[in-house]
């Protein structure tokens, strides 16, 4: 065949379901995630959006009762295949959590840890370069460059979250998953994270789970609405917030839910 195939999706989920014991948290969800795009998952508490997000780098593996069925691919490769190196996967698909969780180590070590264990730096100078570049991309460099040996936990909440983002991008991931990355932060720190997401978009595929619909509207290009474990609607963010197709989406985003 000489016909060029359409641009492949960075990650694709097909018929993904997740159960915790008897309880099915995610039901038959299919979705595609692309480079240069921010995809937002929205929905009420317990709708399965975070559980679904965690299937993208197999974070649910750590929960004994969780069972994932269906297929998820990264560059066309099944991430649940037995050949998949999960440590490698999580370097390619990084994650940022709701509560900033820096290691109880220096700022420098927080960022340097990943590249070092993954063997990404060939020398000390090289490693320092990676740390500086990562902190710059995370918009934190100017605030911490003179105190890299201070503990990461001594930073403010917003700075800690940007440190965690720097840590995630230090291993040069392709996809970044963010689970409520700004919900524990004040509005200024939130705005900084949102600005950062905007800047990072060109380099990575970003998936963000958020309860804050205005935030989803501000930072994402695509929005997926989940309800009771199902994907109700997935489309361009512009359309979801101005003229959603589904009644359930409309009721949720206009504040009529429940």
């Amino acid at each position: 065949m000489t016909v060029a195939s359409p641009a492949p999706h960075k990650m694709s989920a097909r018929g993904v379901s997740v159960s915790y014991g008897d309880k099915q948290a995610v039901k038959d969800v299919s979705i595609d995630v692309d480079m240069d795009k921010v995809t937002a998952f929205i929905g009420p508490s317990g709708c399965g959006k975070s559980t679904f997000l965690r299937t993208f780098n197999r974070m649910n593996d750590t929960i004994a009762s969780a069972r994932v069925t269906g297929e998820i691919t990264l560059d066309g490769e099944d991430i649940y295949s037995p050949d998949m190196d999960v440590v490698q996967l999580r370097a390619r698909v990084g994650m940022v959590f709701q509560k900033p969780n820096p290691f109880p180590k220096s700022i420098f070590e927080n960022v340097a840890y990943g590249p070092r264990i993954h063997g990404l730096a060939s020398s000390k100078t090289d490693l320092e370069g990676i740390v500086e570049r990562s902190l710059k991309r995370a918009g934190l460099w100017d605030e911490v460059k003179d105190r890299l040996s201070d503990s990461g936990t001594a930073l403010s909440g917003g700075q800690q979250q940007r440190l965690c983002i720097a840590r995630a991008i230090a291993v040069d991931p392709e996809v970044i998953l963010m689970d409520e990355p700004a919900s524990a932060l004040d509005p200024i720190a939130t705005a900084k994270i949102e600005e950062l997401i905007h800047e990072l978009r060109g380099r990575y595929a970003i998936v963000i789970v958020t309860h804050n619909m205005q935030q989803a509207a501000r930072v994402s290009q695509r929005t997926a609405f989940f309800h009771l474990g199902q994907l109700v609607e997935y489309g361009e963010t512009d359309n979801i917030f101005t003229a959603p197709r589904e009644e359930r989406t409309k009721d949720y985003i206009t504040g009529r839910y429940g």
Partner: protein, 233 residues
Amino acid sequence: MAGPQEHTVKAFDQDISQLRALISQMGGLAEQAIYDAMKALQRGDLALAKTVRKKDKQIDAIEAELEKLIVRVIALRAPMADDLREVIAALKIAAVIERIGDYAKNIAKRVPMIHAEGEERIEAVSILPAMGQLAADMVRAALDAFSARDAVAAAEVHASDTALDDFYDSIFRTLVTFMVENPRTISQVAHLLFVAKNLERIGDHATNVAEMVYFAATGQYLAEAEAGESSGS
């Protein structure tokens, strides 16, 4: 989560109800202004014409009130989806109704000129009320469509504008003929031409309201929807 839903924040529902009430009130006044202006014109009722001009201030006042309400709703409630479309449509509709009120006022202003003392009664006056009726009906239908969020009714109002345009063309020809035959009446009949033009403009504005109602109800633009339909069939 099925069925007609109220907002979890009840005050938001109150804001929306108030917004709709103000639009209907404003629309009712504009509609009445058209009827009264045409009645004043037909009967040469200068007192009624004066009332129409005075009452226009009420329409302006409601427009100002609506604008404040809408700014507040956008700032405090951050409306989304159909709420957002309705609020934006209401803002635009308020401005359009204000214009419609101005046209009615302008018709009322011409009544004394048309019925100047000592002037003979112009026969041509009798053909305008039917056009006035049609224009006022369009305004009412467009506003009813807004209250009911009825996209189908809105599309009908949109389609009925052609009838009003035809009316205008026909009255224009009649009035020009009348002027040719009765040159002494030219200045009075020229005012009637403006009355007809004002009614035609009112129809255009009612059509604009209908377009906004359609957008608020469906999230689609009427022109695009119609283009899509004709290319699809």
